[in-house]
Amino acid sequence: MRIDYIGLSEVSGPLITLDHVSGVGYDEMCEITFSSGKRRTGRVIMLEGERAVVQVFEGTHGISLENVSTRFTGKPMSLPLSREILGRVFDGAGKPIDGLGAVCPQEVRNINGSAINPVARKYPRSCIYTGISAIDGMSTLIRGQKLPIFSGAGMRHNEVAAQIVKQAHVGGDDGNFAIVFAAMGVKNDTADFFRRDFEDAGALQRVVMFLNLASDPIIERILAPRCALTAAEYLAFELGFHVLVIMTDMTSYCEALREFSSSKGEIPSRKGYPSYLYSDLASLYERAGMIEGLPGSVTQVPVLTMPNDDITHPIPDLTGYITEGQIVLDRDMDQSKLYPPIAVLPSLSRLMKDGIGKGFTREDHPALSNQLFSSYAKVQEARALAGVIGEDELSDLDKKILEFGRIFEDKFVRQMPDENRTIDQTLEEGWGALAVLPPDELDRVDAVLLKKYYKQDSVPAMRGGM
């Protein structure tokens, strides 16, 4: 038997406090019923003796100390799941908002999930081709990886994410592919952009959407990624889908967490974010992966906007420590209308080394990407120097390096939002850019590969005079 508790003893921000409760568990869900019959849901976030603190998902507006009654359900927050969730749209708390009625559940799962036992994991090795050279060539996405996009307000991260969704495929057998999309605190337009885009690609039937728009309650923002990942895990490990999870925007998520933490009166840590931000983010990101003996996979591409484009801000910083690399977008490139504006140097895919090369992509891929990184790093130095002494005064070698930089950005990085390059095309563009450099500059490629793939530009290289 469940007891209805009439009235509250405190309301503060999104939190309500009840006194004289008993038999309530930590993290348990409850229903809050207004005297008018309207309902809201909440979750127990702190217990102290007979006092329970509950966060109300839909917000506390209209709640007084006397006009509600609360009933605890005895269960943690859970999500009803079945194959039917594909093609559906839910709010952040997992309630359908597409007017198609409730999901008839095959299974109900706790949205907090549990950690995957490290020995049960399968190490990700098969690469996902995105058709974007800057990603495929330089920071390859691997199935089961978590690879965030670090962007800034106003940059074209949504286009990049959408292009990845549309073009992502795996060489050979494709299996069942599904997309879980979680929007946290994004504007209506952005959510609409993605919806249209999925529609254009004819993918809506493979997509599950969890939408928490900028005007929706912040508590649901904290739940949205958990619901999305629970759905993803179900699709992957129960039904065998290869699931790509797009979560945008993680910055709004973290801000919701901060707002919520400060309303609980917790001691703030860096920039006011709670001290458990790392553990909290990890509890989301670590839900990517593959499991030995199970067919599916969960790959995550979270999008976050770096406040003030600052990569050392706690959100990108802690994210970078958890995820397996990052794709960084660059303001200057974006402003010079270079699409995709991917800053190659700070971007990194940690799992790339085990998923490329002979037997995976092509034998020259590791050496080539290494060489492009190292040569492109020199481009930055040469540009800095040219900025001081003028391009004309540079040595011949530095001029060639600048030329390489131009070709690399223009031919290799730049492509159309609907251009889907094969890995061979990507690698050829890479060798094409390297062709302007003299062979002794290519110190990362061994002689055999150099002979096979490198074709120096016909203009004879000038020696000496440095």
Binding site: E48, G49, G113, S114, L385, G465
Partner: protein, 585 residues
């Protein structure tokens, strides 16, 4: 029952009320599911407990019971070649018990109690044993003999013969002072927060050879020493740790993944099972204990995991082994402390970290050392701690406080990593205070030349970095030729020597002899090229001969066991210079 029940729950922190018996740091079982926890504070009749598992569903009124002792782990044969969580529960057994996802309240002992070990008993009836006596031994893996070291004093009253025993079967009865009898088995318990005793600490005198040029040559770490590897994300901390775990000449490696990525631990597990130890030819896992407490596992267990790792390391040290513990990353540990301190509403000090951060770090790093164990053997624990500074900023509290307690500091650099210069150890900001301590060892092993070469190489690099400041402003063209030579020679050293390819068969591990030879060749080039300067021949002409590139490729072209290459390459350098000179005649 001591009558304790849960009073409040806030994340991983639970308060129990209603008893008097719990003591500080006592290990407890919380709720009906018997979740593991530890007492971290006592206020009146309230005991504050940090719980090592997810606290969802705990209710006020649920029972809490003490175990009577501090958090202790089971030690014995079977730790090697195995993987555990932060409180030493075997992950393979957990997977069998609860499937691919971690469940709560599963209490499984560290050791496989069904497995029989071929035990050799080393004492006889009537023998006196004291703490430090080795009473039994068994082959734990093909590489390592497991020695059971007594912690008690007494007389052996009865003893089993040699044979096959499990970890928990009694091997002998001991009559201790005051007529107490003790039963000794292969297994023993040890509280993780208490350092294991030793006879005495020895001065630092031997290096931990890692086969990584920048470390062995420029910034060595000693056996029994401590090193920190700080670096922003993507700078290669984990790869550096992996390289050290694979190639360093310790007998035992304890690899601790503290709050890091799950996939990384899977990779370590996979890779270490395949890789062979370069000295013995046996799988690396045979000398490795893996501890994995990934970032999404409970935070309190993360806090405990570094102590667990250290206890395991000390346990093997006491058998007379040289142990290296790689902790990746100590920042996650410090953050776990911060998180729990926040939940306990403790007064924060710098950047929200608790005020006891430096003393906890000091306690941890001071458990390293080169020791004479109670049994009279020599053993050591070397600590290599990764630090993940927030925003890559080394002025943050964890890096700064770690710096006070370690003597080797390998600063990883974001810019170098962007240019894919690995290992991205910055040769200007890194340091090792062990250089002088280890000098006699290097001299005895490699002759007098080594330290001279090292000094010259580091001076060359330092001069280059000063010149690069100028080059950044005005370009390399206007530098006089002698400075151009410094830049060229330093470039060869950077690309050929400091950069090391962890994925290249030959380059991944380089013996000291080859390291020395390479330095000799590079400095020979620098000296020989000066003859060109005397005749005002531009260095760029020497570059045109391709000799620089040949030297950079020494690391790939010369096999690690080739001892003759110094002469060969000196001759090549002479030839190149002669060619340039002749072209000028």
């Amino acid at each position: 029952m001591d009558g304790y029940t849960i009073h409040s729950v806030n994340g991983p922190v639970v308060t129990a009320r209603g008893g008097q018996t719990l003591s500080m740091l006592e290990s407890v079982r919380v709720g009906h599911e018997l979740l593991m926890g530890e007492v971290v504070g006592i206020r009146g009749e309230d005991a504050v407990i940090q719980v090592y598992e997810d606290t969802t569903g705990l209710c006020p009124g649920d029972p809490v019971s003490g175990t009577g002792g501090p958090l202790a782990v089971e030690l014995g044969p079977g730790l090697l070649h195995n993987i555990f969580d932060g409180v030493l529960r075997p992950l393979n057994a957990l997977e069998k018990a609860s499937g691919p996802f971690m469940a709560r309240g599963v209490n499984i002992g560290s050791l496989d109690t069904a497995k029989k070990w071929d035990v050799k008993i080393l004492v006889r009836e009537g023998d006196e044993i004291v703490p430090g006596t080795v009473y039994a031994e068994c082959r734990e893996t093909e590489l390592i003999t497991h020695r059971c070291v007594s912690r008690v004093t007494g007389t052996v009253v009865s003893v089993k013969p040699d044979g096959a025993y499990t970890a928990t079967e009694p091997l002998m009865e001991i009559l201790c002072p005051r007529d107490k009898t003790e039963t000794l088995t292969l297994r023993q318990l040890w509280p993780i927060r208490t350092p294991r005793p030793v006879r005495k600490r020895m001065p630092i005198s031997r290096p931990l050879i890692t086969g990584q040029r920048v470390i062995d040559t420029l910034f060595p770490v000693a056996k029994g020493g401590c090193a920190a590897v700080p670096g922003p994300f993507g700078a290669g901390k984990t790869i550096t740790q992996h390289q050290l775990a694979k190639w360093s000449d310790a007998d035992i490696i304890v690899y601790l993944g503290c709050g890091e990525r799950g996939n990384e631990m899977t990779q370590v597990l996979e890779e270490f099972s395949e890789l062979l130890d370069p000295r013995s030819g046996k799988p690396l896992l045979d000398r490795t204990v893996l501890l994995a407490n990934t970032s999404n596992m409970p935070v309190a267990a993360r806090e405990a995991s570094v102590y667990t790792g250290m206890t395991v390391a000390e346990y093997y040290r006491d058998m007379g082994y040289h142990v290296a513990i790689m902790a990746d990353s100590t920042s996650r540990w410090a953050e776990a402390m911060r998180e729990i301190a926040g939940r306990l509403e403790e007064m924060p000090a710098e950047e929200g970290f608790p005020a006891y951060l430096p003393s906890r770090l000091a306690e941890f790093y001071e458990r390293a050392g080169y020791m004479v164990t109670l049994s009279g053997a020599e053993g050591s624990v070397t600590v290599i701690g990764a630090v993940s500074p927030q925003g890559g900023d080394f002025s943050e509290p964890v890096t700064q406080n770690t710096k006070r307690f370690v003597r080797a500091f390998w600063a990883l650099d974001r810019q170098l990593a962007y240019a894919r210069h690995f290992p991205s150890v910055n040769w200007i900001t890194s340091y090792s205070e062990y250089v002088d301590d280890l000098e006699p060892w290097y001299r005895e092993r490699l002759g007098h030349g080594f330290s001279g070469l090292r000094t010259r190489i580091s001076r060359l690099l330092l001069e280059e970095s000063k010149l690069m400041e100028i080059v950044k402003l005005i370009g390399a063209d206007i530098l006089p030729d002698d400075q151009k030579l410094i830049i060229e020679a330093a470039r060869v050293v950077r690309l050929g020597y400091l950069q090391q390819n962890a994925y290249h068969e030959t380059d991944t591990y380089v013996p000291l002899e080859k390291q020395k030879g390479m330095m000799e060749v590079y400095l020979y080039l620098y000296d020989a090229a000066k003859t060109l300067l005397d005749r005002s021949i531009p260095i760029s002409q020497l570059r045109g001969t391709g000799i620089f590139d040949a030297l950079i490729r020494i690391k790939y072209d010369v096999p690690n066991d080739n001892e003759e290459f110094v002469g060969e390459y000196s001759k090549k350098i002479d030839d190149a210079i002669r060619t340039v000179l002749e072209a000028h005649l």
